[in-house]
Symmetry: C2
Subunit: 216 residues, 2 copies
Amino acid sequence: MLAKRNCIIRLSRYKSVLYRLRDLGFVRVFSDNLGDAIGVTASQVRKDFSVFGITGNRKGGYEVSHLIDRLNGILGKNRVEKVIIVGAGHLAYALMHYGGFEKEGIKIEAAFDIDPSKYNREAPVPVLPVEEMKEFVSSRNIKVCVLAVPEVAAQRAADGIFAAGIKGILNFTSMMLKAPDDCSVNNVNLEVELENLIYFVNLLGQEKKKGALPSP
Amino acid sequence: MLAKRNCIIRLSRYKSVLYRLRDLGFVRVFSDNLGDAIGVTASQVRKDFSVFGITGNRKGGYEVSHLIDRLNGILGKNRVEKVIIVGAGHLAYALMHYGGFEKEGIKIEAAFDIDPSKYNREAPVPVLPVEEMKEFVSSRNIKVCVLAVPEVAAQRAADGIFAAGIKGILNFTSMMLKAPDDCSVNNVNLEVELENLIYFVNLLGQEKKKGALPSP
DNA sequence: TAGATTGTTAATCGATTAACAATC
DNA sequence: TAGATTGTTAATCGATTAACAATC
């Protein structure tokens, strides 16, 4: 399952490019173009499509709108996906005010916190006490959650989230969460990402100084 | 180079676990334990260490403090890494107020924006006009930048950032940036991450209903 | 038709894992 | 010593790429 993660991420990226192409008035696109746009080979593009039974037109390439529909179908974007946030800190605030989710059919329904000073039932995205999470989630059949609490509270919060019936967590904490078998966790760790970037920046800097590539 | 990305990310995760172990008073650790902690095999752990010449003690495992030092050395964490943010929106605000960077030796020096109403030279992390970025970056020898501007401004902003001498961008926009050969871009795309999570949640949901795994 | 692009198979490549001798 | 764990090599696995027949 992890195996396919990269493939699914590529599908998302193809889709993102296709939306832009459609806005520009493009009707057809070739595997070559799509590969260039997201930085993979044309073979990779055709292979990815082939895996999911997406076919184009020998000679004519792929039809942009049709491709978007197919990708949305595969990615389950045919309906609005409801999401909650646990932990109403700065990051949650940024996510609640981020405009990019709506166009992707992602709706943030509420945020939850343990701090009463954060509660706000009147806001466009209400901030509610965690005690209300389970009822909120089950009555609305919500399956996905963003976890943005302090590190020390992460696993305990996750346990409560899974107990409430959530099946997938987008985890912004630096804890590697333990999760039930039928649940998914995707980790987004800003320290790790920055650390990684710093490593490669330093590496490229050293290569430059040495004037040669490091041994493989 | 992309090839090694996953390996370097594992090193960051090992390090994160090791800090916690050290806080708990652990002195030694086995490849088995580390593998369990971040969800990889013991072989993978030893292989990762072997690649970078990290050795332990046959029988005695690895010494926690020594391992932390070695990993910090490899990841370039022996000195504080200075970082700027371009785009002073909600996400930048969250990053500026995030406490997790300091302990990782990452210091956010300033944020830059084109909107005068955002400027604030007195804040702990000042918000400055983009016109001052180039001078700021070169005088302080800053190499890494977080990009958090609206999508439409992304490539143009990136061009300016690279022109200012930055070598690595952590890109929060959904544009795939074009970058010079000697520069790195790491993408963190929240829509893509959520979309990915939703895909796997739906997939697991369907498996459950069918009571069987889908064909491979 | 001739030319160009897909769809798919086979070849390649690289990363992960297993196995085991070395050794503490 | 006997037992356990490393370090490393070889085997496996999976993902990417190249190639090319099918075909629009």
